[in-house]
Assembly symmetry: C2
Homo-oligomer: 383 residues x 2
């Protein structure tokens, strides 16, 4: 690739504000290959149907109401969000059902949650009676009923009560609170990061833990209607986890380098990449691109200790060794391609959820055409 | 700290949309202590004046036109940005002078840059004749003159040509290009991360390198009018670097944990913190707060290998050990304080520039009052 002399010619439709072709996009730009994304969505929906699992995708990965709508149209039974602010934005997708998979704490958020519960069926996953009591009070004041999932910790050591006695006591406490509907239990198997032998063993452990937990809850008369779990790495192993009724993958819509290197998808299933431009080649063996930690996020690889920040589609031998805020450092000594200032590259980020959150727009492309431009409407809705 | 029963009472002014008191802010929220920030700004301005240095602060840290305006009012001679999109936003601050400290590549960005150059004096720092020729062409088409700083690499190994022969050749090339104004040279000493003995030695090396470079340029008849360098860690050592005429610190407005642990400020100079709420205490010895990598960024400590993501003002013994997107894990075994769901904490992030970029708003506080609410207007202006 050689730098182009002067500027490329501009044809009539290129003068429109809305870019029509990939070559018209300025950089850095977040691209989604529509063919791959649609295949990812269909495959998960078909898997869920085949195994009689409810698919309630976590929309934190994209934060785009149009994409949430597409997930619903392709068979998702409802949507998941982490934040009340995301739920507000996602109402535009007209979900029949919204799960806030996060404890909602404090008056302001609870008032907003109640307003959402007037517009669609809302469930909150939580792990403390303190949070549950606040929610019950807010639901009473707002004259609504809100569903709850009792969150249990299955190994990540983050949120969730310990399965067993503690879970039983917690659910008994939930059942005593008015205006709450006990929908069941939920968990996030975020400790399973890779589908290597350890990961498959962890999935078997999870199956045994859940089986014992459900047996205990049935014995206590607390049988859950919903058993909600699942992540993108474990997605296509969900049928091995007996008792699971609902899965909440997020990343699967795009996939990313982490998902790929975890063995949970192939490179050709990675729909999202970031288009960047080479801005400096002053140091031999290195090129600098116009995206750094404010474009990709600083998230490292989770399934491997390797320190690198993305996979360069046009130069797989290049190593994305370092970042500053607006600079990406590519070691191109073994890239097998000559790169010059002005050349453009597409890079698959380690963690697409963190990267999307840094962009105002997502460009949906098919071949060299830009077919869609979505606003990341839920970006930065931190509250 | 115990969880409050029910909700705090709401007084009349609390019903306004604009929060008046810290306790009314929902979380996570980015706070700036106005007394500390103003002191940081004044101190840098006074230092620059005392040493006859031009202060051209890098606004990438805050991306707020109102704060850029304040920097100008307190004595900054101009502003620095990394992106054309940031420059467009910063025009609202009416800067007499804008430095884009980044090579501007490609027609779209160059057209926008020329439009900015019609409104204020613009300088671009670049390191390739490819970039310079594109800029010269765009300036000619747009009937403007644009200043250039030849970027030299002083040790970071990122952008910038090698001092010596290469720099001389590059400047000679710049001087041949019409519509460009050779303003001088620039560099970024980002390899100096700490003011330990190594760091002080690096500052001395930089002084010697710059002295030799300026001697050479004068001999060649290429004496620079502007010698622009400096970072927050080196800020108050700038007078030790002979020949420097201009400094471009960014982080100094707020400071952060990196700056503090680098020995470049004190804890009491850290103006920015993130207000979070404890949302789960289900695991003994650990609390989960409602801010993770989408609130703080995943940026690690630069001056130390320690893995932790912030300093908890109310519980300095707590260790911020891990993050997921919306969860922060605090190890509170040695925190010396009991924390309950609903408790609020302020955490100083490792890297404030990356954190600000994740927030829609900055709340300026004095004591328990919220005096200012600024939109982070330049957030996500990646192009």
């Amino acid at each position: 690739m050689a730098p182009q002399a002067g500027f490329p010619s501009v044809s009539a439709d290129e003068s429109l504000n809305r870019p029509m072709f990939l070559r018209q996009l300025d950089t850095p730009a977040l691209l989604v290959d529509l063919d791959i994304m649609e295949r990812n969505l269909r495959r998960a929906a078909e898997y869920a149907r085949a195994h009689d699992l409810r698919l309630r995708p976590h929309t934190k990965t994209h934060k785009v109401p149009e994409l949430a709508r597409l997930q619903l149209e392709l068979g998702a039974a409802g949507l998941t969000v982490a934040k009340v602010g995301e739920a507000e934005v996602l109402l535009a997708a007209e979900p029949p059902d919204l799960l806030v998979a996060y404890p909602v704490i404090g008056r302001s958020k609870l008032e907003r949650l109640v307003a959402i519960a007037r517009r669609t069926r809302v469930t909150v996953m939580l792990d403390s009676l303190h949070a549950a009591r606040q929610l019950s009070d807010a639901a009473r004041e707002g004259h609504v009923e809100v569903g709850v999932l009792a969150e249990m910790d299955v190994g990540l050591g983050r949120t969730g009560v310990t399965p067993g006695e503690q879970l039983v006591d917690f659910i008994r406490g939930l059942l005593r609170l008015p205006h709450l509907r006990y929908d069941g239990i939920g968990f996030y198997p975020g400790h399973i990061r890779s589908l290597d032998n350890d990961g498959l063993e962890q999935i078997e452990e999870l199956d045994r833990l859940l089986d014992a937990t459900l047996e205990r809850l049935r014995r206590e008369g607390l049988a859950p209607r919903i058993v909600s779990g699942g992540s993108t790495p474990t997605l296509y192993h969900s049928h091995r986890i007996r008792g699971l009724t609902e899965i909440r993958p997020g990343t699967y819509i795009f996939n990313d380098r982490n998902t790929w290197l975890a063995g949970a998808c192939k490179l050709e299933d990675c729909a999202a990449s970031i288009l960047v431009t080479v801005v400096s080649t002053s140091r031999p063996g290195q090129v600098i691109v116009d995206g750094g930690s404010k474009t990709f996020s600083s998230d490292r690889l989770t399934p491997s200790p390797e320190l690198s920040f993305g996979y360069v589609l046009e130069a797989p031998g290049a190593v994305f060794t370092r970042m500053n805020e607006e600079h990406g450092y590519l070691d191109v000594r073994r890239a097998g391609v000559e790169l010059a200032v002005g050349d453009r590259l597409r890079i698959i980020p380690n963690h697409i959820c963190a990267a999307v959150n840094l962009h105002e727009k997502i460009y949906g492309v098919r071949g060299d055409r830009v077919e869609e431009v979505w606003q990341v409407a839920g970006r930065g809705k931190l509250q």
